[in-house]
């Protein structure tokens, strides 16, 4: 007791936190009771001096809020409640009293009778308007606790509590308090008998609608607009009683509000209408519809339009859901849905007008409401459109009519249940009753140019409606589309695209129709022999046919047919005797297109994850090898189509695509056959086809004496090897020795880029995947290669550049798998920077080793380490930057600049973006290098930076801003044909100028505006159309750019 008194005295004097804690521990330990504390505080609690009294109460409240709740027995709580309620009358003491009531009300010993007393005291004595936000917050907290814990007691108070609370909450403005108040409001609206107070409750909730609160920047309280919106919305949709008052308010906000308000109101309606129920909705249905109609037919923006359509759906659902049971089966409905449908039908009498579009949107929206409304809507709109289509007076409007009908079919389809397992019964397919007439007008629509596109869209929606069309009807659709394709394929590209799309869709479920009727049509139109060189039209025709086939034949049955038919065609084209002129190039180009088609479809199939690609190792690959090996062997001296290198290259693509999909087990026998053919000349297991491979000439492409056409076929060897899994061993006695042979072959035997690339790719792929046994090769053999082929100045520069390329590929193989030996390899490139002949080639290789490629990829089962590019950049970028800044000789410096541009071009932006401030001046210097390729890639890098900074106001934009004027003048110079002959650079520079206004603040660029507009006016007269287009875009953006 003594101790307490001392504590109290010191606190009154100094207000130290520790005094409160001492008192709390006294009470918690049971050394003193709260009553003792009250006694100790006695003189202060009753002091005549306002300040002392306040302090006394404050101290009591502080202790109360910190001590253990169970220390207070019923008796003490009772006393304290009485005490505090009394203090609420005392204006000086309201605040500490509220502080005390907060912990008190949540104590277990706090009883319902206390709750009633507290509420009464609050209502009678607290004047909210006199309190500041934090104090009002305390009042709400107390009420919230009471509502949560003593709800029944408050209910028993009835009107007294409700009107009391309403008077407390009225006029609240602070978002922090409102969040709490809304939570209380919702409980009152949901659980209390509010019938007498609806209007008042409406006044303390709906007056806040719509929420326009915007949190200040760096708001410490973290209350968002959405928090408030959600809390308020939970009040609004809590009870139907609010409906009659709320809907007129919503209507008013909808007509008068800004777009955001409109969307908020529509959202509120969406959540409230179902709660308010059909009778409220019916009273206001007309008015609501009229307002919504305005938003749909004269939309302010598409988001509001969508929201209004959705609200219309909610309205209809609210109105009709209840009657659904009685209406089952009946075709007719009454009320709003009927009126609205009739209004729309009225508008749809002019299908070509702009209002027809929103009208059909409304009807489509209705189809996703209740079954009876959906049925009614469809029964109105479908026959109407069909009749319109068939009306001879409306002939010119058939296109727009079908456009609308297509939308209806899509909506009808999407309104069906989406369970893919269950095939819908006929009565569940909304369109079933109208199937025949709809199918009829759509197929008629196909025959006219103006309506074909819409008819195709409609048909596509029809065939994708599950369970609707029979197999026979699908066949009919395919037949009609075939006719369309035959008629007007060349004239109308869009239509044939859409037609192919439709056929592709059908072929997913019913490939038979397409393979039986459509494919023969296409194959029939492919010529057996290549058109003559000057027959551009015929060539374009077969290109179109092949491109159509490629689109169509991804489905596995169709692809099988495609492969069989195209291989036959390929044999025909390649076997044909050369024309009298001896010009085989058109044939080779045709064969190339055929193989390219197969490759494109394979690639698409792999992307789609089709499993049937694997089987083409037996059906396609041996035929390809056969054709090419045969042609290479018999061609000695004669001209043959399949010896054309470009043809070999595309065949290589086909082989890689198939081989990479095989499992390691399946790859092993294939590799055995491959090596038997290429290393031992035994082609029987690898190649198979109708051309008979001659036995008198040996196939030995690695031989020094081999013909160039044989050596070219190493591309087909490489194509297979690069797709192997790393577990597949090569069927040679020593892989290192094999690689050494390949390396020497590249240097001494290869006679063109195709052969060199093929063998270098093979080496790279093997090094990457089978590095285990290769360490001697990597150190010794490669070191010799470097010294004799790259570093040695006795070699001609051309040879040295080729050797650098080889070196790049080996380095790359090591780098992507994170092998530490890559670092030494890269280091050697830097040593060449002083070499006048090849310094730029070496510098480009620095970027070349991380550039993306088609070879060392996941698909080809390469060993790739995560983030290898990032690690590489971290290690070489500082060195390059250092070198580019140093001043010892501009040659070294330029080489470093070239290295910088090439590396930046090769890696993702995220890797170097944090270095931008250092890189920027260097890149600007790179723009002065006399190489267009480099300039273009520098500009592209800057462009990526500028585009990045337009999305986020970050550091990047300030880096650009620092160099604004020099950037602008350099880019202008690079965009005029007079100063910059390269089209590519001009286009890049103009693109950069075009994004600049969105990447920088106006005040930074303002001084440049006049110059840019004047200079760009000259570029508008560029000789190239593509450049002019960019110039127009850039100039437009600068015109729009204002402060």
């Amino acid at each position: 007791m003594e101790a307490l008194q001392r504590v109290v005295r010191t606190w009154i004097a100094s207000e130290q936190e520790e005094d409160v804690n001492t008192a709390v521990s006294e009470v918690d330990n049971g050394n003193a009771s709260l009553l003792d504390l009250v006694k100790a505080l006695g003189e202060y609690l009753t002091s005549e001096e306002d300040e002392l009294r306040t302090k006394g109460v404050e101290f009591l409240s502080l202790v109360l809020s910190k001590c253990l709740p169970q220390k207070l027995n019923r008796q003490s709580v009772r006393v304290l409640v009485n005490f505090y309620c009394g203090k609420l009358e005392d204006t000086e003491n309201i605040i500490p009293a509220l502080k005390g009531l907060i912990p008190l009300t949540s104590m277990p010993a706090f009883a319902s009778t206390d709750a009633i007393e507290v509420v009464r005291a609050l209502v009678n004595h607290v004047k909210m308007k006199a309190l500041v936000q934090s104090q009002r917050f305390m009042v709400y907290t107390i009420v919230d606790t009471l509502v949560a814990k003593h709800r029944d007691a408050l209910k028993s108070l009835g009107k007294e509590f409700l009107s009391g609370y309403i008077s407390l909450a009225e006029g609240e403005k602070d978002p922090r308090n409102l969040l709490l108040a809304f939570a209380i409001d919702r409980v009152l609206l949901l659980e209390f008998d509010i019938s007498a107070h609806v209007e008042h409750l409406f006044n303390i909730t709906l007056c806040y609608f719509p929420i326009t609160f915007r949190p200040p920047p760096d708001d410490p309280y973290g209350i968002t607009t959405d928090d408030l919106k959600n809390a308020l919305s939970a009040c609004l949709n809590s009870t139907p009683l609010l409906g009659p008052l709320a809907i007129p308010l919503f209507l008013e906000k909808l007509t008068a509000g800004a777009p955001v308000t409109k969307r908020d109101t529509l959202k509120a309606l969406d959540s409230c209408l179902p709660v308010y129920g059909p009778s409220v909705a019916r009273t206001h249905a007309r008015k609501l519809w009229n307002t919504l109609k305005l938003e749909i037919f004269q939309p302010t923006d598409s988001a509001t339009e969508q929201a209004a359509l959705h609200t219309a759906q909610v309205l209809i659902k609210t109105l009709y859901s209840a009657d659904e049971a009685e209406n089952k089966g009946s075709e007719d409905i009454e009320g709003l849905a009927k009126d609205a449908c009739e209004e729309c039908i009225q508008i749809l009498r002019e299908p070509e007008k702009s209002q027809a579009k929103p009208a059909i949107k409304v009807m489509c929206a209705f189809m996703e409401t209740t079954p009876s409304v959906a049925r009614f809507t469809l029964a109105q709109v479908t026959p109407h459109l069909v009749k319109l289509f068939l009306d001879p007076d409306e002939l010119p409007n058939r296109g727009p009519t079908l456009r609308l009908l297509a939308d209806v079919i899509v909506a009808a389809r999407d309104s069906m249940p989406k369970d893919p397992e269950v095939l819908p019964a006929e009565e569940d397919i909304p369109l079933a009753p109208y199937k025949d007439e709809v199918l009829g007008v759509l197929t008629v629509g196909l025959t006219a140019r103006s309506s074909a596109q819409s008819a195709l869209d409609g048909l596509k929606a029809l065939v994708t409606t599950r369970g609707l069309l029979t197999d026979e009807e699908l066949g009919f659709v395919v037949h009609k589309v075939n006719e369309l394709l035959q008629d007007g394929q060349e004239e109308n590209e869009d239509i044939s695209d859409a037609a192919l799309d439709l056929l592709t869709t059908i072929s997913v479920s019913a490939p038979r129709h397409v393979s039986e009727t459509t494919l023969p049509l296409f194959f029939g139109s492919l010529p057996d022999h290549a058109p003559a060189r000057d027959d551009q039209a015929a060539r374009l025709k077969y290109w179109r046919t092949l491109s159509s086939l490629a689109t169509l034949c991804k489905q596995s049955d169709l692809f099988e047919t495609l492969v069989v038919r195209l291989l036959t065609k390929l044999d025909l084209v390649c076997d044909s005797a050369p024309a009298a002129s001896g010009d085989i190039e058109p044939s080779a180009a045709y064969a190339h297109s055929i193989l390219r088609t197969i490759a494109d479809v394979l690639e698409a199939k792999i992307k789609l994850g089709h499993a049937d690609v694997v089987k083409y190792i037996d059906r396609l690959v041996p035929r390809v090898y056969n054709l090419f090996i045969y042609s290479a062997l018999v061609s000695e001296g004669a001209l043959l189509v399949a010896t054309e290198p470009r043809l070999v290259a595309v065949a290589a693509r086909v082989i890689t695509l198939v081989v990479q999909t095989l499992s390691a087990q399946r790859q092993e026998p294939f590799v055995a056959a491959l090596f038997a053919a290429y290393v031992h000349g035994d082609v029987k297991q690898l190649a198979e086809g109708h051309q008979k491979i001659p036995s008198h000439t040996r196939f030995e492409p690695f031989d020094v004496e081999a013909s160039s056409s044989q050596k070219n076929l190493l591309a087909l060897f490489s194509a297979a090897v690069v797709g192997l899994h790393k577990e597949v061993p090569l069927p040679v006695s020593d892989e290192a020795a094999f690689l050494d042979m390949l390396l020497r072959w590249v240097v001494t035997v290869a006679d063109n880029a195709l052969q060199r690339d093929a063998v270098v790719h093979t080496i790279s792929s093997i090094v990457n995947k089978r590095i285990e046994g290769l360490s001697a090769f990597l150190t010794d053999k490669l070191d010799v290669f470097w010294t004799t082929q790259v570093a040695s100045t006795t070699q001609p520069p051309e040879k040295r550049r080729e050797a650098i390329l080889t070196w790049t590929w080996v380095t790359k193989a090591l780098l992507v798998r994170g092998d530490p030996r890559a670092a030494d390899h890269v280091d050697r490139f830097f040593q060449l920077f002083g070499d006048e002949e090849i310094s730029w080639a070496a510098a480009r290789a620095i970027g070349g080793v991380v550039a993306a490629d088609n070879l060392l990829t996941k698909k080809n089962h390469a060993v790739i380490k995560f983030l290898y590019a990032q690690k590489y950049c971290t290690s070489v970028l500082p060195r390059i930057i250092e070198g580019a800044k140093s001043t010892d000789g501009s040659k070294q410096q330029n080489a470093h600049l070239v290295a910088l541009t090439s590396i930046i071009k090769s890696v993702p932006k995220a890797v170097y973006v944090h270095q931008m401030p250092t890189l920027m001046p260097l890149l600007l210097r790179g723009l002065d290098l006399p190489d267009y390729e480099i300039r273009a890639s520098v500009i592209d890098t800057l462009l990526a930076t500028a585009e990045g900074s337009s999305s986020s106001a970050t550091k990047e934009s300030s880096i650009l801003a620092e160099h604004a004027s020099s950037l602008v003048s350099t880019m202008l110079k690079n965009s005029t044909v007079k100063d910059m002959p390269s089209v590519r650079v001009r286009i890049s520079a103009l693109r950069f100028l075009a994004v600049l206004p969105s990447a920088m603040r106006y005040d930074v660029l303002h001084p440049q505006k006049a110059v840019v507009l004047r200079e760009l006016a000259k570029v508008l007269d560029d000789p190239k159309k593509a450049v002019r287009k960019e110039a127009v875009e850039a100039r437009t953006n600068w015109y729009k750019f204002t402060g």
Binding site: K353, S354, W543, A589, R984, R1035, T1036
Partner: protein, 184 residues
């Protein structure tokens, strides 16, 4: 600007595609399909002059929005079309752009003409001299309109009006965008 609506429910026309597309990889005047490599060099080597033609000019103005129906382009309402752009046979730097108001009493016609004029002023080389006129017989005050649109002083004066300029920029804000992008 008056708030009167002259044509609340205009007819919509399907837009034509910008250019006929070729199958992927096809290059005219070449036997071979393009393999996606060595593309740039080919593009770069010549700066042979490609003249500005009807289509290029149509491309510039087709996607201007209609002042009365902002979500529709002049092309969709058939106010402008490629054949309505003609070059003077004697002087290739003179061209006439004709447009068709949707209704003869359309009070927005001057404004449409002005937006075409401004777009072309900004996008064509200065050597061009452009006449903008309404299609003969398509507007009740055709003569006055044509006079107004081709009077330098009056065009300049109109562009001094900030309110007018703002609406104009809005109509021009859709230019260059894909036709499909507006049509939603």
């Amino acid at each position: 600007m008056s708030s009167e609506i002259f044509n609340p429910n205009p007819t919509i026309f399907a837009p034509t595609k910008s250019a006929r597309s070729l199958p992927p990889g096809v290059r005219l005047h070449s036997l071979w399909l393009d393999d996606g490599e060595n593309r740039d060099e080919e593009q770069d080597d010549s700066n042979a002059f490609e003249a500005i033609d009807q289509d290029e000019i149509f491309e510039l103005i087709r996607s201007i929005s209609d002042p009365e129906h902002r979500n529709m382009s002049l092309e969709q309402l058939a106010v402008v079309s490629a054949p309505q752009i003609t070059f003077d046979e004697r002087n290739s730097d003179r061209l006439t752009v004709e447009f068709t108001p949707t209704v003869p009493h359309c009070g927005m016609s001057t404004f449409i003409g002005l937006s075409i004029r401004v777009r072309l002023l900004r996008s064509l080389p200065t050597r061009y001299k452009i006449d903008i006129r309404v299609k003969p017989g398509s507007h009740q005050s055709e003569h006055a309109l044509n006079k107004q649109l081709n009077d330098k002083e009056r065009v300049a004066a109109a562009l001094e009006n900030p309110a007018l300029l703002e609406v104009l920029e809005q109509c021009l804000s859709t230019v260059g965008r894909d036709v499909d992008a507006i049509d939603t």
